[in-house]
């Protein structure tokens, strides 16, 4: 299992990203208040403020999941990843996101359960972004379980410290990929 990050440093890094989004919103709004006559710029700034507000909201939920993972001191246990992913999809839909559980296989992983489903849900939302969708697939090989979260068009998934720390928080190892967010979890042989 991968080593979990230091909570204080993690929160500091993640808050830095959130502050950048809040900063972009404030800049957009205060520029609009200057009564700029450039219509194209106005539209662009309004779109930025709208999109970044939704992203901040989404990321705040993700930070909550991250903190839950980081503060979980319980021992790792084995559970069905398929069940956890189905619950994560439900969580995602409950907040207006779209995620579909595609090709998958029943697999048992070994991880800390607290915050696990919330973290998976946040990862699905971050991959889908504000108005997209995430397709989830699972595969197993040599005792490891690989999960892929991808957009339907196969476009590049987001990086950033929040994604990186959520993965570390659930004990996952990211596998570099151009076709989505791919990560490996410690599996348990049936």
């Amino acid at each position: 299992m991968t080593r979990r990050p230091d909570p204080a440093e993690t929160v500091r890094t993640v808050l830095h990203e959130l502050r950048s989004r809040v900063g972009a919103i404030r800049l957009a709004v205060t520029t609009l208040q200057t009564n700029t006559s450039d219509e194209e710029l106005m539209k662009s700034l309004l779109a930025t403020a709208d999109r970044e507000t939704l992203r901040v909201s989404m990321e705040m939920v993700a930070v909550t999941a991250l903190v839950t993972c980081l503060t979980d001191r319980s021992a790792p246990r084995s559970f069905d990843i398929g069940h956890a992913l189905r619950n994560a999809v439900t969580l995602t839909e409950r907040v207006g996101g779209r995620a579909t559980l595609g090709r998958g296989s029943k697999a048992i992983v070994r991880a800390r359960p607290r915050g696990f489903e919330s973290a998976l849900s946040s990862l699905m939302q971050l991959v889908a972004d504000v108005d997209g969708e995430t397709i989830v697939s699972v595969s197993t090989k040599n005792g490891a379980v690989t999960v892929k979260l991808a957009r339907p068009d196969g476009s590049h998934a987001p990086g950033g410290s929040l994604v990186k720390n959520l993965l570390a928080g659930i004990g996952a190892t990211q596998i570099p990929s151009d076709a989505g967010l791919v990560f490996r979890l410690e599996g348990v042989s049936p």
Binding site: S20, A24, T30, T36
Partner: protein, 212 residues
């Protein structure tokens, strides 16, 4: 007169929004935008901007080191940190690295525009709201700054209000040279490397109140 500005920030949306917002000012031109320190230094070296707005947390090496390198590569460039980091220690490090200003990312367009213009004019730039977040009240000093005279404290107070040597001289009815001499003494007694650092140190140590 147009002020040439370089932006260095790894958060693409923030950098793009800032560039678009600053462009609404006729006297400000965006010379370049970089997302890493390496690219930022290359652009600063090539473009010699009047003002560089630098984030602190950057992917390759941090913005404080970048500030130092930019000041070496392009001494005329005024460096203003624009960051989400509110750690007072980073603030002091930035000042020691040659930055002349420190803005927090939640600043309004007006704050940023004002900072660019004031930095270009050679002034120290820390908006009031940022000072209160970047400085922390501590016990009064036993050594540093305790030997400041009343006149030096007056100079320090005016400096904290964003006044430059010329304005301080006018306010106190003294010559520019005398004002400069007081400023040098204040910096020396506070063990500060810049006027901005002097204000930060004095505020943090409770020698002066937080600027209004």
């Amino acid at each position: 007169m147009t002020i040439g500005v370089l932006l260095v920030d790894d958060h693409t949306v923030f950098a793009e929004t800032l560039a678009a917002a600053l462009k609404t000012n006729a006297d400000i031109a965006i010379l370049g935008v970089a997302n890493t320190s390496t690219d930022g230094l290359e652009k600063a070296t090539a473009l010699k901007p009047d003002v560089a707005l630098l984030d602190v947390m950057l992917p390759d090496y941090d913005g404080i080191e970048l500030a130092r390198r930019v000041r070496t590569a392009s001494p005329e460039t005024k460096v203003v940190m624009l960051t989400g980091e509110t750690d007072p220690a980073l603030f002091a490090k930035a000042m020691a690295a040659g930055a002349c200003g420190y803005l927090i990312k939640e600043s309004s367009l007006g704050d940023v525009t004002d900072a660019v213009r004031r930095a270009y004019a050679g002034q120290v730039v820390v908006p009031d709201k940022a000072v209160s977040r970047l400085t922390q009240a501590q016990a009064p000093p036993k050594g540093v700054g305790s030997d400041l005279t009343d006149r030096e404290l007056e100079v320090l107070g005016l400096l904290a209000q964003g006044k430059d040597a010329k304005t301080i001289a006018k306010s106190l009815g003294i010559t520019w040279h005398t004002a400069r001499s007081y400023l040098k003494t204040v910096l020396m007694k506070l063990d500060a490397h810049s006027q901005l650092e002097a204000v930060a140190v004095a505020t943090r140590l409770g020698i002066i109140g937080r600027p209004k």
